[in-house]
Symmetry: C2
Subunit: 316 residues, 2 copies
Amino acid sequence: MGAEITVSDAGEFGLIGRVTAELTPGETTLLGPGDDAAVVRAPDGRIVATTDLLIEHRHFRRDWSSAVDVGHKAAARNFADIVAMGAVPTSLLVGFGAPADLELDWVDGLMAGIREECAEVGAAVVGGDVVEADAITLGVTALGDLQGREPVTLSGARPGEVVAIAGRLGWAAAGFAVLGRGFRSPVQVVNAHRRPEPPYAMGPRAAELGATAMTDVSDGLIADLTHIAAASDVRMDLVGGRVPVPTKLREVGAALNTDPLVWVLTGGDDYALAATFPERTALPPEWTPIGAVVTGSGVRVDGRSWPVGGHEHFRG
Amino acid sequence: MGAEITVSDAGEFGLIGRVTAELTPGETTLLGPGDDAAVVRAPDGRIVATTDLLIEHRHFRRDWSSAVDVGHKAAARNFADIVAMGAVPTSLLVGFGAPADLELDWVDGLMAGIREECAEVGAAVVGGDVVEADAITLGVTALGDLQGREPVTLSGARPGEVVAIAGRLGWAAAGFAVLGRGFRSPVQVVNAHRRPEPPYAMGPRAAELGATAMTDVSDGLIADLTHIAAASDVRMDLVGGRVPVPTKLREVGAALNTDPLVWVLTGGDDYALAATFPERTALPPEWTPIGAVVTGSGVRVDGRSWPVGGHEHFRG
């Protein structure tokens, strides 16, 4: 029956009640949804903040991803930005635009996905906004706490350092390629596109290990390392053979006649972490060294430039 | 010439460069736009946060408001939420969705308006996101600092207290009515619709004076006081004759054959502040007492209930 009830039936205030009904406050939540603004503890005396807009058809498709998937991913991509600074996510604010005929079931699923991803990192939804819109629109803002650490920016990489990655690379791109050809399997790569699994704990851990620069891989490894290279005024020399290409991606690549290394090097949306560390850093097993920071500019793989890849808005 | 150049010509990264070019860091900005996330000082150990979605045709019309106006208003409505907690705005994050054929001039105007409104309160744009969208979409998040004060919520009003307002009421509604009938004057009310002037300083000031509950008037005075009444489990008894109806609104009301008191009591978008204070509080002249908090529920004017008015999304 739920499928027939729309947000228009609930009205703005009914919808607000619905999306806030099952929220629980986080450890840092002093005042959650329902007032003019939220109040969040900032134990560190600083706050890390990032915001994203996600719009249906541009960032997700309802026939490819469930509402729960969209909720997970909307939260995950923002939390990945927070941990890429070496911080711990504490709070999420969600602006939600919906067409009047959107099923309330979809809204329930979205919020369930957001809540689940929040629980994964120990964060809470503290505020939001609900408006009518032609396309489903999400304005998501995440806040985080540095716990006394210095933020790890894009600009701290120095020649002689090690480039390393943590988390999955290429999986979401493989899933996107599979979905784009009308398939729904293998589920491992399709699910990777639907719900990224950023290596959240590795962000603060990298900061503790002395990471000099870090970013989450949202546009593609080459593209995002290029951002670090530009901000740090260095070059990244990667060794192709050190970049892991999992068996599953090789299988999917063979089936789709695509070199899986392209997915790994240029595919976005997995929200892995890429960072630079001082040369002698003892890296835990979650981090894979893939190259070195040298003088120069840009990113090379085995001495050659790669097309950056990645999606740029307004460029088709 | 600028009018012929579109965001599509600039591309995502060109557009990001454009919108961030003239930004200046604020007093609390530790790391501004350009990294994975911003880092903002939270001197108080707490942060106040609020978010809004604004979508063209739903929240603004480009033939009624200039890009600069839209920028002012987008920032103002979020800053009003921050000061309504008794806090001082410090930072703004702006998610910006634009059609590919939007003129770059419009973007420049939008950012100019946002920067000007930030300057008004001493805040800075610290981060954002740029995506392609069918309709101009703004996801705006404001952060604020309580400076050691306790947040003034919706739920602290108690019987025996005074209800007071600061700032303009009814002006934006009169302007909206004028524009809706195809007129462009009187400019005072039309401009009030285009650029609200929230009494920013009065938020922290009210907190210092001991305000027990406060809100910014975004939906209309009756509607927003009803939120306080419900959250505080009290009734608000207003005296109609004490609610100021400026001469200009009387003139516009006469011209449009509308009772201007309706604009004052139910018109939103002026972002005045409404608050409750202990009975003997010596209110500065910016605050006008308009009634009393009593036991009961809802809001009455001269003993009678008023239709709440205000716009509810999904209710046409």
